[in-house]
């Protein structure tokens, strides 16, 4: 009986990764009321960046964070300043179009540069798995995913609650006009928020590269996961997004165990539909 806890435990752990995948999308929607359709591509771009450093310098994938995170932060900051800031306060359509165009450009650039071959960030962590009381197996990489996810959310919560940047981001989201009257430069705050969101995408990208194989077109499936996480957990809520990730992870793995591995994705989407029907703003979402 305890063995049947395996998909539940693994679902929770994988959910930690899903939560990090979703938080970037959630932040940008919560703060700027925009949906970044290039979110998945920025993740996979990070996976490829990590691959480069892994092959060039022989670094362990987790150590590539040192290079990948600053690089992606700068990229995100520049994208916000030069692309998205031009359509600030002009509604959702221009932003959607720009981010969609960006996702196509990035996908095809990665296809050109890296070829359509399947890639993975090889590490012994993926092969090792923990044997828990001889009852069930927990892949070690899942533990790393969850621990990282927990850490990311902890740091984000600290930033949002205890720093001037965090208050500025939350204030801009509540009332942009009043925020400007406080001395907050909205263009800069948006660029910093985008930088943070993109860093979380990069972290999830590297973890995804370690946990699964990836292709230039993998961004789309993770964008969909991000949407799932955010819709279930609720827009504009940090704890909500974490919860959303856990629920999606559990739904997928438990559903996959009960109905069969082919039903993994479907199980997740069924839960998504149920949440959308009963509580459209998400479990911890603001109305």
């Amino acid at each position: 009986m305890l063995a049947s806890l395996e998909p539940l435990i693994n679902g929770i752990l994988l959910g930690g990764l899903y939560a990090v995948i979703g938080i970037g999308l959630s932040m940008i929607f919560g703060i700027m009321r925009q949906v970044n359709l290039a979110h998945g591509e920025l993740m996979i771009l990070s996976s490829y960046f990590s691959l480069i450093f892994l092959q060039l310098l022989g670094l362990h994938p987790l150590l590539t964070f040192l290079f990948v995170l600053p690089a992606i932060f700068i990229l995100g900051y520049l994208i916000q300043i030069f692309l998205f800031n031009r359509v600030l306060e002009k509604g959702m359509e221009p932003y959607l179009m720009i981010s969609f165009g960006l996702s196509i450009i990035l996908q095809n650039a990665m296809l050109l540069i890296f070829t359509p071959d399947a890639r993975t960030l090889k590490t012994s962590l993926v092969i090792k798995s923990l044997n828990v009381f001889d009852l069930f197996h927990v892949p070690v990489i899942y533990l790393v995913d969850f621990a990282t996810g927990f850490l990311v959310f902890g740091i984000l919560q600290l930033i949002m609650k205890k720093t001037y940047l965090g208050w500025a981001i939350r204030a801009s989201s509540d009332n942009l006009t009043a925020a400007k009257l406080m001395g907050i430069n909205s263009k800069r705050v948006y660029a910093l928020a985008m930088g943070i969101a993109v860093i979380t995408a990069a972290i999830s990208g590297v973890l995804v590269g370690m946990t699964f194989t990836f292709y230039p077109h993998s961004g789309t499936q993770y964008l969909i996961i991000a949407f799932g996480v955010v819709i279930i957990g609720g827009l504009g809520s940090l704890p909500g997004t974490f919860l959303g990730g856990l629920i999606l992870g559990i739904s997928q793995l438990v559903g996959g165990r009960i109905l069969g591995p082919g039903f993994q994705l479907l199980s997740g989407y069924i839960i998504l539909l149920i949440v959308l029907t009963i509580r459209p703003q998400g479990i911890l979402g603001r109305k």
Binding site: W167, R170, A171, N175, T177, L181, M182
Partner: protein, 235 residues
């Protein structure tokens, strides 16, 4: 010394001229009132002074420096704070966080603890409720919070936009007593109101706006009731 000077301001709001040839000045040690009914152009004037709107023509000087080309986040750094109409507090931030974000600009961050104590002294209710979310406060408490938040930026001149709106007479009386205390602390006060009687009682100098133009100006103690009515209603 003139703290704020507006000269020949024309402001357009979506194709229509909201303000025509507005000129006014605010001296140090003054409480200046700007009055007018709904739609007279008060909010447009304040939005332009605070940098949220750009004038079509004319200029605005604060403390001797030109500010009409600056953004709102730059103007507050120079020492001009606005307590906006409708309070506009941050509903998902706590009372304390609302006050702390008021000290966002570099010069205010250094003295934030001292300023916080000053605000709590003026508004003890805010200290009681410091961990509550902004959205849970009553109208009067939100107004106190909006004022406290503006004070945190260490302003030299503070503009109050319709602070009496929707509040009980007792609350309004308390707020105006606070406005006087703020003036005594050395800040220059501009009051924008629909409540004519009370703001004329408090002000040293007053302007009455109607349909985007100044109809009457001077020391309110010299105004006759007829003059005020004519200017206010445009009769």
């Amino acid at each position: 010394m003139t703290m704020l000077e507006v000269k020949n301001l024309d402001v357009y709001y979506g194709g229509f001229q909201a303000l025509t040839d507005i000129s006014l000045s605010v001296e140090r040690d003054q409480i200046v009132s700007i009055l007018g009914s709904n739609g007279a152009g008060k909010s447009t004037l304040l939005e332009t002074i605070s940098g949220l709107l750009k004038p079509g023509s004319g200029c605005i000087h604060f403390n001797g420096g030109k500010i009409d080309h600056l953004g709102p986040h730059e103007i507050v750094q120079l020492g001009l704070a606005l307590v906006p109409e409708g309070r506009k507090i941050f509903s998902s931030l706590t009372v304390l966080e609302n006050l702390l974000i008021g000290s966002y600009i570099p010069v205010a961050r250094r003295t934030k603890d001292e300023q916080l104590q000053n605000v709590y002294e003026l508004f003890p209710r805010l200290q009681e409720r410091r961990d509550q979310l902004g959205s849970t406060l009553s109208g009067g408490e939100q107004q106190m919070l909006a004022i406290g938040r503006a004070l945190m930026s260490q302003p030299r001149l503070i503009i109050f936009d319709e602070i009496s709106l929707g509040l009980s007479p007792i609350m309004v009386k308390h707020l105006y007593q606070t406005v006087n205390r703020i003036k005594q602390k050395g800040m220059v006060v501009v009051l924008v109101e629909q409540d004519v009687k009370r703001s004329l009682k408090t002000a040293d100098f007053a302007y009455i706006l109607q349909e985007g133009k100044i109809r009457l100006k001077g020391n309110p103690k010299d105004f006759t009731e007829d003059e005020v009515k004519k200017a206010y209603f445009g009769l």
